[in-house]
Every structure is written in C-alpha cells, then in structure tokens.
Point group: C2
Chain length 161, copies 2
Amino acid sequence: MRLTRAAEYAIRCMVYLSRQGQGVLTSRQEISQRADIPNHFLAKIAQDLAKAGLIEIRQGAKGGFILIKDPAAISLLEVVETMIGEIYLNDCIARPASCKVHYHCAVHRVWQSACDQLRTTLRQVTFDQLIADASCIPLDQETLQVTEESEMTEPPGPERP
Amino acid sequence: MRLTRAAEYAIRCMVYLSRQGQGVLTSRQEISQRADIPNHFLAKIAQDLAKAGLIEIRQGAKGGFILIKDPAAISLLEVVETMIGEIYLNDCIARPASCKVHYHCAVHRVWQSACDQLRTTLRQVTFDQLIADASCIPLDQETLQVTEESEMTEPPGPERP
DNA sequence: AATATATGAGACCTTATTACTCTTATTAAT
DNA sequence: ATTAATAAGAGTAATAAGGTCTCATATATT
C-alpha cells in the first residue's frame, strides 16, 4: 500500500471538519488554508469524500463542506480506503493473475495476514480520538498569526474595522 | 510502503536459493527461468542482495549465486527492506519536514505504531518457514514439464538421448 | 593462451502514476 | 442580475517503476 498525498490531505481535511463538528459548514478556502491543502486539489479530494458519504458539499455562494457522520463513527481506515482503494501490500493479492499458485503460497499468506492486521489497526482509530489530541493542523488561534498573508487574493480578515 | 516488483522478485529469488540450501551455487539463468524473473533484472536485484550480505555472486563460466546466510536467520523484513529501504507508511514519518508539528501529532502516532507492527510481523517470518510450505515457485519436477521450450537459446534438457 | 560462458555495472528507455493545475460549467445568496 | 462559491473533468509536468541493452570483467575448459 502507498499512502498518497491525496489520502494524507483527505485525513487532514477530515480532522479539520471533525474539529468543527458534525453538521457545521466550512468553506473549502478555509480548510485549504488552515490545513495546508492545495485549494483545487482539495476540491477533487472532497468529491471522493462526498461519494463515500462522509461529507456533504454545498455549492454556490457561502458554500463549503459539511461533515455528515459522527467523528466517532468514522475510522481512519474508511478515509484512507476511500482515497486509495482497499489496502493491499503486494500485487499478488490485488492481482492474483500475477502469481501462479497463489492460493497455497506461504509468502502470500504472510502478506495477507500482515495486511489484515494493518487494516484492523486503522479500523480501530476513529476521528474523535484523533481530534482529542494535538495534530499537524494548527488550532484556530495559532493559525491566524501565521496564515494572515496567504497566497489567496484577499482573505477576508475577520477583525478588520 | 510499496512492495515493488524488484522486492517481490527478490523474495522469490531468496525462496529459490533457500530451497537449494545454504552454500549451494545456482546459476542466474536457472533462477530466472524457474522463479519467472526477467534475467537482466535479476542481475540488478542480486547486486542489492549481495551488498546486504545475503548472497555471494560468483562470476565467470559456471557462475551464479550462493546463499550465504542460514535461511532460518533471514527474515522477510530483511529482504524487503534491502530492496525498498526501511518500510514506512506515510510521508510524514519518512520526511518529517513535510509536516509541521509532527512530534505531537495524533495521526502520526497511529501511522508510526502501524508501521512498527508491520515491521515486527515481517521480522518474525524467516525463509526456512517460507520454504517449509508450498510457494508460488513450482518445484523442480513440476517445472521441467512446463519450462521445456523456454525463451533461452538452447536449454540443456537433462533427459535428451 | 584462447575461447566460450557467465555475471557486473550502469546507462538508457518506456510506461504508469502522482500531484497538481486549469478551464468551463453550475449553483446559490444578495 | 451579479457575485461568490464549488463541480467536474481534461490536461500537464515531474517522478518513479520496471525493464532492456551494452560493454566490461571474471572464470572454467580446451
């Protein structure tokens, strides 16, 4: 398996939305800036998350993303596999044709059980656990200092007179 | 982590050599044919295995590869990491610069422990265990039937009159 | 010594994937 | 109607994977 950038961004996005809380609408721009995800790339990633039923996308002015599920009901595995497909460690298991007698191969069995173990581990981690603790995404207060002069045209600076 | 083809081939090569036994010389051609590994690619892979001290490469006529270590002392992890470097699951851990406050990130800790778990699993599997059972590489007797008309110029066909 | 038979080492090539970006819709608030 | 947002998907540059090819080197055999 390979954790792609898209998957890492998806996790960050979900951590951010989980912090905001279930049902809270957050703009793509805000997530993009705070969680440090390329804006357009996030749009693409969000589509996958929406298809998987994790978030709802609201179009139009004041649009954005809304976390649909309870963070406690979303596992890390679910988000990861939404982005990269079902986890596998070796080609043989994903594409049995690439190996000859895979059904009774000792090496295969090792990879299979290692894979199962990994998936179980990731399945046990939920997003309410992940937001309980500090994470790579800075908290709101911290960010405001740093992200003030962003790459975006004109961030709306909340405390402007 | 990503199990590359080179790593899969390396495992097959080591399974084959382990079956032959420690200290037994086997030609690259034979391994290539029997374990279904592209001949020249195997040469490249063998160099890595040799550098890691797993096999010895004997040059010249009647050259080939010799398993140096006892199969019971070679772990699957060792062979895999020889080929793809130390296993990691996410970029953040391999390249801490790609994340901001990695040292106290909940997501990181999950990946780190999943990674540790995976490496431990692979470390516990040794090649004597792998050859005790059937594998993807056909046994000698089986192969002779199938590989008879190979891509090579003139295989020496042991039962020719 | 000469020759045939192996592998070594590394340059080179092709294809696939990653990680984005860009453009043209579409949707909703004002 | 206008403006502000996202949708959807095509397009693109960079990187890596997976081999192949060539020339050099080493060794057994004659």
